[in-house]
């Protein structure tokens, strides 16, 4: 992506200002991308503490790279490439080896979706948690790259081309990857339809 494309990417402009020593621009980038990055990492590793630790590392790497930053891609592509790289490494290194145990332990930390009267009954809460655990297990059971692709597609609403750049694949490979991932999820979660 050249200079013209970078001109369209406000985040890349902010990053160039950080490169020039503007700390406030780093603050703006953090404010804008903190939550998406943490949430993406949370859904990748399925542990809030590990996700925040990884997100800290993501933004630290962004900060460290400021002097050599060149807007050769969309800023979010670069950002999520760092995040995905760290998440895949964390999964590979076994930081998340107790995933299944935590799926049970973390239930109390999860936000509980309110029903219409604002106060879910115990039964509704249990049903919701059971469904949620099933979703988390289904996503957690996907191969790492498929999981990353689904999360970027579903929650970050990234286009195929951008996901392809993040995962360093061709666009057609991403389409195929996503289809396989959604098919797996469909098979596992069909009874919830």
């Amino acid at each position: 992506m050249g200079g013209a494309a970078a001109a369209l990417d406000y985040d890349a402009e902010l990053m160039l200002r950080v490169k020039d020593g503007d700390g406030a621009s780093f603050g703006l980038l953090l404010e804008k991308h903190r939550t998406p990055v943490v949430h993406f990492l949370y859904r990748m590793v399925q542990n809030p503490a590990v996700a925040e630790e990884l997100a800290q590392e993501v933004f630290l790497r962004v900060y460290r790279s400021r002097t050599t930053y060149e807007p050769t891609a969309k800023f979010t592509t670069w950002l999520f490439r760092i995040a995905t790289h760290l998440a895949l490494n964390a999964l590979r290194d076994g930081k998340n080896e107790r995933l299944q145990e935590r799926l049970d332990d973390d239930s109390a930390e999860m936000p509980v979706r309110q029903v219409s009267d604002g106060r879910p009954s115990v039964e509704q809460r249990m049903v919701y948690q059971a469904k949620l655990d099933e979703v988390r297990r289904a996503v957690g059971a996907l191969p790492d790259k498929q999981r990353a692709a689904v999360l970027m597609h579903k929650y970050e609403e990234m286009e195929y081309s951008q996901i392809a750049r993040v995962l360093n694949c061709s666009e057609s490979a991403i389409k195929s990857l996503l289809f396989r991932a959604y098919e797996t999820l469909r098979a596992r979660l069909a009874h919830m339809a």
Binding site: D20, F26, L60, E109, V135, Y155, F179, R186
Partner: protein, 164 residues
């Protein structure tokens, strides 16, 4: 319209249809096909369930001290030039002036110490002598300091961020 389930290259169309990403004409064409294709209807119903299930998966809020922890880590990243040059930086004034002053001072000191025929005025131990600082490094260090001041302001002006 040929059934997208029979043509792998059309599968993204199905995914996009379920995710409401298609434009109006494509949406209409797909809906028309699905109306007469039970396989597609079944596939779409299943995929709709997947999307609803994924929609229900909310992530926990980000810790309120996330930024503070990050800025503390960023602060540790500041180069040792910052420490060396801190006394040269005035508390107020424009950015260019202290940069130029510090760089000029250090260059002048370097030239003076290294001038031909200049004997040592004072007997300074080798370990206490300073190397002349290149202007670009001095400027970089001062920019680091400026960045850190801005971070500190952000952290101190945002004691309890009620985000999320």
């Amino acid at each position: 319209m040929r059934c997208p389930l029979e043509t792998p290259q059309s599968v993204p169309l199905l995914l996009a249809f379920v995710a409401h990403e298609l434009d109006a004409p494509q949406t209409a064409a797909m809906a028309e096909h699905a109306a007469g294709c039970s396989a597609c209807r079944e596939w779409m119903a299943g995929m709709g369930g997947v999307h609803r299930a994924l929609d229900a998966w909310e992530a926990p809020p980000v810790s309120a001290d996330f930024d503070r922890r990050l800025f503390a880590r960023v602060e540790k990243e500041v180069s040792w030039w910052d420490v060396v040059l801190r006394p040269f930086r005035p508390a107020t004034g424009s950015r260019a002036l202290p940069i130029a002053a510090a760089a000029g001072l250090l260059i002048a000191a370097g030239l003076w110490i290294g001038r031909p025929g200049a004997g040592p005025v004072l007997s300074v131990p080798a370990s206490a002598q300073m190397e002349p600082l290149p202007p670009d490094q001095a400027q970089h260090a001062l920019e680091e300091m400026d960045l850190m001041q801005q971070f500190s302001q952000m952290v101190h002006s945002d004691p309890a961020d009620p985000r999320m």
